[in-house]
Amino acid sequence: MADLVIENPSLLLLLEHFGMETALNDISIGHLCKQYRVNTPVFLLLCNLYNGFFPQRKDLNPEQYSLPDLIKYLKSSHRFYTSEKYPQIQNYIIQLHRTQRPEDIKQLENFFGEYFQEVLEHLAYEEEVVFPYCNQLLQGKKPGNNNEGQHAFCSTEYRDHHTDIETKLVDLKNLLLKHLSLDGDFILKRKMLNALIELENDLYIHSQAEELVLLPLLERLELKDRNG
């Protein structure tokens, strides 16, 4: 495992998401997962995603993945976004006030503020609707009937949410990189862009994990549920 982290340090974040200790010795992935009681296929899939290997949906067998472990990862990465990454970027925008004209920053602030709000809403939707729905399905309850379909989960709507979040992030990146000149504030601009790119990558992995595993697993559970 340590070799993998040395190759790709962003895997440290993955370890963090699963609460794994970073004193790895020479422990293998299999041992590590056993030690922390994490489903190895889920962990391996995420490692692959972080390493830039994106399998096709048809090549994966959803059966082997543990839904609770996947949700554990998703929830933890939500925390990473809301309490670490977004505040970091917000902080950079606040710092821009020192060197830029307030009217220039105001737009950027508004744009980011609205965007962040949207992200929070989407994450809240996942936490309050999608994950509980998954748990109910896992426990063999029939959530659709209990709640009069109010919480019925719609995967296309879910995908739209994601695309929207990613598009706005790309916009923000392009604005900073191509169009806005932050006179002289090179360091801050670099830090912001790095943070945005890191966030973009992580959000992409996050959405891939949901597309590749969460949705197929849910569909399978729903089918089982419907067939009694």
């Binding site: 744009f111 598009t167 706005k168 790309v170 916009d171 604005l175 169009h179 806005l180």
Partner: protein, 197 residues
């Protein structure tokens, strides 16, 4: 158009002067490329294929051929025209040039003249680069930021909704921005709209 170098055409019968001028200019840090022409007709036949930035002309070559000269000038609107003098010509002829050099000028002054011409060439190119969007695309963008729908924009600009969509597609492609708030910020930063509007 690649602008790492400056293309200079020279219309000067004297080999001594041509060699002297090019040697002097090649000592500077600019990347100059020289093209020598025997007469106006030869220059005219070449002017469409090559992007000249500066053309140095001995006014004797255009004397009594003013009309042909003006035609060529019109064909090459971006060129900076320099006259290289070693005898007297009347002002009517000299007024056709952007700047006038005399063979008796100090080398520093001559180089400064070329320097200035280079800067004006570069500025023209930079302006072209800065102008990411076409005038019509800017009109569409401004209308979008005001919250107009495709149909409203089409009516306002007397074009079809389909054309508005094409403009929008091009705006997205050129700026890399998809959402309206981001496009608004772009328009603000380029001063296409003001805060009040």
């Amino acid at each position: 158009m690649d602008k790492c170098h400056i293309n200079i055409a020279v219309l000067e019968p004297s080999t001594l002067l041509y060699e002297g001028l090019s040697t002097m200019l090649l000592k500077t840090h600019h990347h100059y490329y020289f093209y020598r022409f025997a007469d106006l007709e030869e220059l005219s036949s070449m002017c469409e294929g090559t992007n000249f930035d500066i053309i140095v002309v001995n006014p004797s070559m255009v004397q009594n051929k003013q009309k042909a000269f003006i035609r060529i000038k019109r064909k090459m609107p971006k060129v900076f025209w320099m006259a290289l003098l070693y005898s007297y010509y009347d002002n009517e002829l000299l007024n056709l040039f952007d700047t006038i050099l005399s063979v008796t000028d100090a080398p520093e002054n001559m180089l400064a003249c070329f320097e200035k011409a280079c800067i004006s060439c570069r500025c023209a190119v930079e302006q072209g680069k800065n102008k990411l969007l076409s005038d019509r695309e800017i009109e569409v963008l401004v209308a979008l930021t005001k919250g107009l729908t495709n149909k409203e924009i089409a009516d306002l600009m007397n074009i079809s909704v389909h054309t508005v969509m094409t403009h929008r597609k091009n705006i997205i492609e050129k700026t890399g921005l998809h959402s309206l708030p981001a496009l608004t910020m772009y328009a603000l930063s380029k001063k296409l709209i003001s805060f009040d509007s």
